[in-house]
Amino acid sequence: MRATVLMGLLLLLGAWPAAAQQPSRPVDDLQAYEIASELRCVVCQNLSVADSPSEMANQMRAIVRERLAAGETPAQVRQYFVERYGDWILLAPPRRGFTLLVWLAPLVAVLVGLAVVALLVRRWTGRRRATPPPVDAAMSERIRRELEREP
């Protein structure tokens, strides 16, 4: 019994340095795919790391998996790439600083467009509803007489 425990302890100690060097966790494929799909393939035109068949993207996918397996969170994995490539590596620009414009500009454009449409509609309907100019009483009386004279 004592020999078995001793052997188990020795095996555990023997395996410890390797385990300490490469802590490995099971990687969620969907999570790895989601991170890769947010990263820009650096050698492609508008393709994500997840979608590109290039070798560089393949290597980046492997790095994503490796870092997740080492226990990093998705945010930490993303940050690893941002620290090396800048925000450019993210397909969706961050909602802060200058790139906030990219998110706000379409909203502002829609609001301005709606305002212009509202103004035009108001102008057109206002024109139709405009009260007719007052009719001259003498002219009105003359028309009435003319109509009565009609057979």
Binding site: V42, V43, E55, M56, Q59, M60, A62, I63, F81, V82, E83, R84, Y85, G86, W88, L101, A105, V112, V116, L119, R123
Partner: protein, 180 residues
Amino acid sequence: MRRRRWRWLLPLTAVPVLALLAYGFRLNPRDIRSPLVGRPAAPFALTSFEGAPMQLGALRGKVVVLNFWASWCYPACYEEAPVLERGWRAYRDRDVVVLGVDIQDKDEAGRKFIRDFSLTFPNAPDPSGKVSVDYGVYGVPETFFIDRAGAIRVKHVSAVTDQVFRDTVEALLAEPAPRR
């Protein structure tokens, strides 16, 4: 009168859009600044084509010219290979080291490239691509000039010329050596 009041609205909304476009057209889309410039160079340990260890950590105190290349990168890598070899030979006695990292390449093609240009400075393949991603490499060739304190000072995209090599290395050599 009412119509006149709103007449300026449309041109006015176009002004910021036009300003943004003008700003965008003035930028060079290839000029993507590396966030790594000014920061410590990532340590790496590769094995050269000759089987010798190639570690950045062992070169602290020297100016390091770290070049990423590939045998399929024509003509830029073919243009700069002789430049790097000349620079290495001219400065190797002045504490300057040139290192080549062959990325996204076939082993035999990389070896042939080294033979064809008679490169004598250390070159190593980066089969996993980790070193190239650690340095935020977009493509080849890209060259990083690392100062004696181990910080990336210049990132050069496209082929290095004799003048770029000389000017950058001389500027880094002129700086005082870091305290050990």
